[in-house]
């Protein structure tokens, strides 16, 4: 291992991942506005550039140039740290997600289609994903605003609760795959996607993913008609942009993980003959999941808070435990 393969190659790969995610985030915000507008028979953004495709760039510029209004009685250090704490975990999860099946050689270096194939990949994802709660709780607490505090409390207990069925569902995926490494999990789906072997698991994972990312119908973190903007009420300018970025990248991450765990990752027809197709299939599947999330946002009303908690604890959690036991028994019966 020389310094090129140990430092330079992963650094370039990490940069590519971060830049791709930022571009994805910017255009996701555009696509979402456009799609929701179409669902509601409107045009959506159409002024900046042809079809409004320069809208994300103008939004970004606006956010950077905005004057920042910091209330006098906030806890300054935590107030500054929490937007960064929200956006970081969403990016760092991408270290272990494989985007394609085939490595390729460039300038004599073998480039693998992931930043790192950690052998405890799934544990790593569960650990990092739960860190996202900190940013939100600290933001709500440090703002010294009642709306923010209420939003933060709601968000934290929502994210904690939905982590449980998600984790237990991933254990049943693990039972079939037999490995914590994400590359191995995808390779175990060469024949049949886990969405077909684990239909209930896939649905539970998807619902929990929506709740974890704070997406509609579980967008209780933001409930603008009750809590103004939830935990982000006192944030503006670039700090608000960082929260926004965290939420949208989280949405991309949830879609990518659903693809990896349940939809066969990079697998698809002719992927063995033409390896590049792997990346294409992966992106198509992720885009489909994102479209589903936006579709749900345009279709469903927000759920009430007590019902949200009851749904998780009294329905999803027992169901995921049952799913785990059934999976284990069936695996023994099948051999």
């Amino acid at each position: 291992m020389d310094w090129i393969s140990l430092l330079l190659v992963p650094a370039i790969k990490s940069l590519v991942v971060v830049v791709a995610l930022l571009t994805g985030f910017a255009y996701l915000s555009y696509v979402e506005r456009k799609l929701v507008a179409r669902f509601q028979v409107r045009y959506g953004p159409n002024r900046a550039g042809p079809f409004g495709i320069l809208q994300p760039i103008s939004d970004a510029l606006k956010m950077v140039f905005k004057e920042e209004i910091v209330p006098l009685n906030v806890d300054h250090v935590v107030y500054l740290l929490s937007p960064a704490l929200t956006v970081m975990p969403a990016l760092v999860i991408w270290a272990v997600i494989p985007v394609s099946g085939a490595s390729f050689t460039l300038f004599g270096q073998t480039i693998t289609p992931y930043v790192s194939d950690v052998n405890v990949g799934l544990l790593y994802i569960l650990a990092i994903a739960s860190l996202a709660t900190y940013g939100i709780v600290l933001a709500g607490w440090s703002s010294n605003n009642k709306y923010s505090l209420l939003g933060a409390l709601r968000t934290s207990s929502q994210m904690l609760s939905y982590e449980l069925p998600m984790g237990i569902t991933l254990v049943s995926v693990l039972l079939i795959a037999g490995s914590l490494s994400l590359v191995d999990i995808v390779q175990a789906q060469r024949g049949v996607w886990f969405a077909l072997l684990q239909p209930i698991g896939f649905i539970i994972y998807f619902i929990c993913g929506l709740a974890e990312a704070g997406r509609s119908p579980f967008d209780l973190p933001e409930t603008e008609n009750e809590l103004v903007s939830g935990f982000a009420t006192e944030y503006g300018g670039i700090k608000f942009a960082l929260f926004f970025m965290g939420e949208y990248i989280h949405m991309i991450t949830i879609s990518a993980l659903a693809t990896t765990f349940f939809l066969g990752g990079w697998y698809g027809p002719f992927v063995n003959q033409i390896p590049v197709l792997g990346l294409v299939y992966f992106l198509i599947k992720v885009a489909f999941m994102i479209f589903l999330i936006v579709w749900i946002r345009a279709s469903l009303p927000r759920i009430r808070y007590d019902k949200l908690m009851h749904f998780c604890w009294k329905f999803l959690l027992p169901l995921s435990l049952l799913n785990l036991v059934v999976t284990a028994v069936v695996l023994v019966l099948v051999g």
Binding site: K13, M88, L91, L122, N144
Partner: protein, 118 residues
């Protein structure tokens, strides 16, 4: 193995750099004209009364407590699941008993009213 986590570390560094660059850039170019009205805490246009850092609903705390119990037990299931195809049949019965105890704990919390949002 060690190099795997070096790669993760490099991504973490870049992920730290991103918000730092964003915040720094914005700090350099944005206007700074604070005044007391702008800097007051937002609350529907009226002045906020009392401190925010006060007691909050205990139900959140109870959910957090139940969460900790279940999360730790879920962690015990992970190594069992990874080694499942190499384990003999009694591994299944043991895991089923373990999950049953988990379910019993859930029923207990349910009956005790820990999950009730009243």
């Amino acid at each position: 193995m060690l190099s795997d986590f070096t790669f993760v570390g490099i991504l973490v560094l870049i992920a730290v750099l991103l918000p730092v660059v964003g915040l720094g850039l914005s700090w350099l170019i944005r206007p700074k004209k604070p005044n007391p009205v702008k800097q007051s805490t937002y609350e529907c246009g009226i002045e906020t009364i009392g401190d925010t850092w006060v007691q909050f609903r205990a139900q959140y705390y109870i959910y957090a407590l139940v969460f900790v119990v279940f999360d730790i037990e879920a962690v015990f299931l992970l190594p069992w699941a990874v080694a499942y195809d190499q384990l003999p049949l009694y591994a299944l019965t043991e895991a089923v008993i373990f999950v049953l105890i988990l379910a019993l704990a859930l029923v207990y919390a349910w009956r005790k009213g820990a999950l009730r949002w009243s």
